[in-house]
């Protein structure tokens, strides 16, 4: 009877606790470094590229990230199958991504981001020549030597392989948590059942 798939767990923030410090973004970028995980700021040679986004509005701050949708529109939209279901996350294989941006159109949360790729502080080039008139050394896109910088889409992978997602583990306010849909539902139903018991008697009697 039970479904063979566990529903995808995801990270969500408590807006009441978030103070907008951006530690989650730094932590996310740090653990997703393409090189050895930098320990200190001095090792961060590449620009900060976070997979969650601290959104600040007049009402306050809250980080937004991927919900790992069961019927993920991003994955369904990807023409090269770079986005798949891996363990219990929706995963982007950055090596397969062609930068077509369709997934960004599809996602209703704005959870995907197209980023330029850097390694050891230098832009990674791809075999895509620039039209010679527009080719300038180190132009604003980080392109150089007449070739365009590699761009890929990144998104939350819930830090697959780590004990706890870096954003959750490092939030100084404990404002972020991993939600397991099954456990969440069971807890809510439990509360609902208990509160219902008293109320219904009052109505029926």
């Amino acid at each position: 009877m039970n479904t063979p798939y566990r529903l995808n767990r995801f990270v969500i923030a408590d807006p009441g606790k978030c103070i907008g410090c951006r530690v989650c973004e730094i932590a996310c970028s740090t653990v997703h470094s393409r090189e050895k995980t930098p320990l200190t700021a001095g090792n961060m040679n590449n620009p900060v590229q976070s997979r969650l986004y601290l959104v600040r509005t007049p009402q306050g701050a809250v980080p937004v990230q991927c919900r790992h949708c069961e019927n993920a529109p991003c994955a369904a939209a990807c023409p090269v199958l770079a986005i798949t279901q891996k363990d219990d996350v929706i995963y982007v294989d950055e090596d397969l991504c062609i930068g077509c941006k369709t997934c960004m159109l599809a996602c209703p949360f704005g959870a995907l981001k197209l980023v330029p790729v850097f390694e050891n502080g230098l832009p990674v080039e791809q075999n895509l020549p620039l039209l010679s008139e527009t080719a300038q050394p180190e132009n604003s896109n980080g392109d150089s030597d007449g070739y365009k910088q590699l761009h890929v889409v990144i998104k939350c992978d819930r830090c697959l392989g780590l004990e706890q997602p870096a954003c959750v583990a490092n939030c100084p306010q404990q404002a972020l948590q991993v939600v397991s849909p099954e456990e969440h539902l069971a807890a809510r139903m439990h509360e609902a059942a208990v509160s219902l018991a008293a109320v219904v008697r009052n109505y029926t009697s």
Binding site: I19, G20, C21, R22, V23, E25, I26, A27, T30, V31, K36, P38, L39, T40, A41, G42, N43, M44, N45, N46, P47, V48, Q49, S50, L54, R56, G60, A61, K113, G121, A166, A169, N170, P172
Partner: protein
């Protein structure tokens, strides 16, 4: 060019106003999260949630803990009124710096180091605080607390400094002076408890908020300033150099040391004793800028004689270290018998306030160690009310002492901060254990310094060069 006679009428306040502030919060990057406000030990930061915060420079003790905790950064896909290049320039940082820039920051001074190194007539001397050698490796991908004194010395030689000396040497000298001062106060019924004076944030705090207790403060200058004075006097004599040509740089784990070296009274050598202070992070940036592969460097020694140090000088870099170094010497000076065991675990606390009593050959000493300035007020109250029964108080502003100072490498993941600080602390103690000489008064070059130049601890020359009158300094402000 930079070494100059300091005008006696310049006060600390004008110094602060003259230069750009040492610690500041960048309004464009601050998100108003309030974590700096929480960590500030003196409540010098104010601001409403979600709006940029501000540092009150009159209260700030420049410890730089806000710089360490700040996480509001210059996100590459956001546009700010100030460009990254402009921001680097405003902060006195090298244009080659790639790391993210955070809202809370300190004034960078690296350009002046480069200029001095490139000035042919300048004789450049550098000193490194103990905590630098257990942290700088982290900026080059090494693990937390990696012990790299040899590579540090090699990098400084490679950068072109004429003399690579060590603050640890001056820490040993500090113990000679401070130990003698403590014994004198005990024997002559002087003001007790005596306070350590090596942490410039603590000294500033006492001056700013508790000037009635300044008499308790040891008259010793900090190791950085003792080193600076000795470089331009004794050091100049050794190298037969006109002290006016010396440009003296200190590499420190501390942001407040930038302020300390600019204090108007710190000119016993006849010149500004220490011309410039850069932090551990700034030195790492300079090493990268110069294209030096730090992890690949072969070990080199610090230069003699003012780079010779003991294990006792080395542990100044962590809480309890000054106390331990002082006890190793003071107990022996008082009784004539060395301590049986040099591992004084009972003073190595980092829990805020630690008290300990030492009985050695009939001499009983009581001490207290405060780690983190937020814990100090209750101790000061005890002293005022006469309840304090200890002789000697060590105070460090930063949580685990200098290893966790504001100028140290900034740990990116908050849940690794403690691991990093403990790693650095263990590195210092490991270094202490591995050194042949572990007591300051056994440092052969310190002995020679007293023999050839200073005379006795607390003697006339030592008093002139290595001590300062804190209550008088207060009047300058």
């Amino acid at each position: 060019m930079y070494a100059k006679n300091f005008d006696e009428t310049v006060t600390i306040d004008t110094i602060i106003k003259m230069t750009s502030p040492i610690i500041a919060i960048d309004k464009e990057l601050c998100t108003g999260c309030g974590r700096c406000l929480e960590i500030c030990p003196v409540e010098a930061i104010a601001g409403k949630p979600n709006t940029p915060h501000e540092v009150d420079t009159a209260v700030c003790i420049l410890c730089g803990q806000c710089v360490q905790i700040c996480s509001g950064y210059d996100a590459p896909d956001e546009t700010f009124p100030t460009s990254r290049a402009e921001r680097l320039e405003q902060r006195g940082m090298l244009p080659t710096v790639q790391e993210p820039l955070f809202a809370a920051h300190y004034r960078g001074d690296i350009h002046r180091v480069i200029e001095a190194l490139q000035t042919p007539d300048m004789f450049t001397i550098v000193q490194c605080a103990p905590a630098v050698r257990v942290a700088i490796g982290e900026e080059f991908g090494m693990p937390y607390g990696a012990l790299t004194p040899g590579k540090l010395s090699a990098a400084l030689h490679a950068l072109g400094f004429d003399r690579v000396y060590d603050t640890n040497f001056a820490a040993d000298v500090t113990i000679m002076e401070e130990g003698a001062e403590l014994i004198k106060r005990i024997q002559e019924n002087g003001t007790l408890p005596m306070f350590t004076s090596c942490c410039p944030g603590w000294v500033k705090y006492l001056e700013d908020q508790h000037d009635d207790l300044l008499e308790h403060l040891s008259s010793c200058k900090s190791p950085q300033q003792m080193a600076g004075t000795l470089f331009k006097t004794y050091g100049a004599k050794i190298d037969q150099i006109d002290p006016a040509r010396i440009f003296s740089v200190a590499v420190m784990p501390c942001t407040c040391k930038k302020f300390e070296c600019e204090r108007p009274e710190m000119n016993a050598s006849g010149y500004q004793d220490v011309d410039l202070v850069i932090t551990t992070r700034e030195l790492a940036q300079l090493i990268k800028h110069a294209g030096i592969d730090f992890p690949a460097l072969s070990d080199e020694d610090f230069d003699n004689p003012l780079g010779c140090y003991t294990g006792a000088g080395n542990i100044f870099g962590t809480t309890g270290g000054v106390m331990e170094a002082a006890l190793r010497s003071a107990c022996e000076m008082l009784t004539g018998t060395p301590l049986p065991d040099l591992e004084l675990e009972y003073v190595r606390g980092d829990e805020g306030i630690r008290k300990a009593a030492i009985v050695h050959e009939g001499v009983a000493l009581k001490v207290a160690i405060v780690a983190g300035l937020q814990h100090i007020d209750s101790v000061l109250e005890q002293i005022r009310s006469g309840e304090a029964d200890f002789h000697f108080l060590e105070v460090m502003c930063c949580p685990l002492g200098c290893v966790s100072g504001g100028g140290q490498p900034k740990v990116l993941l908050p849940n690794q901060c403690l691991e990093a600080h403990i790693g650095r602390k263990s590195g210092l103690y490991a270094h202490d254990r591995s050194l042949a000489v572990r007591k300051s008064h056994d440092n052969p070059q310190v002995k020679k310094l007293y023999q050839d130049f200073l005379g006795e601890p607390l003697g006339h020359e030592a008093h002139h060069l290595l001590h300062t009158d804190h209550s008088h300094n207060r009047n300058l402000v």
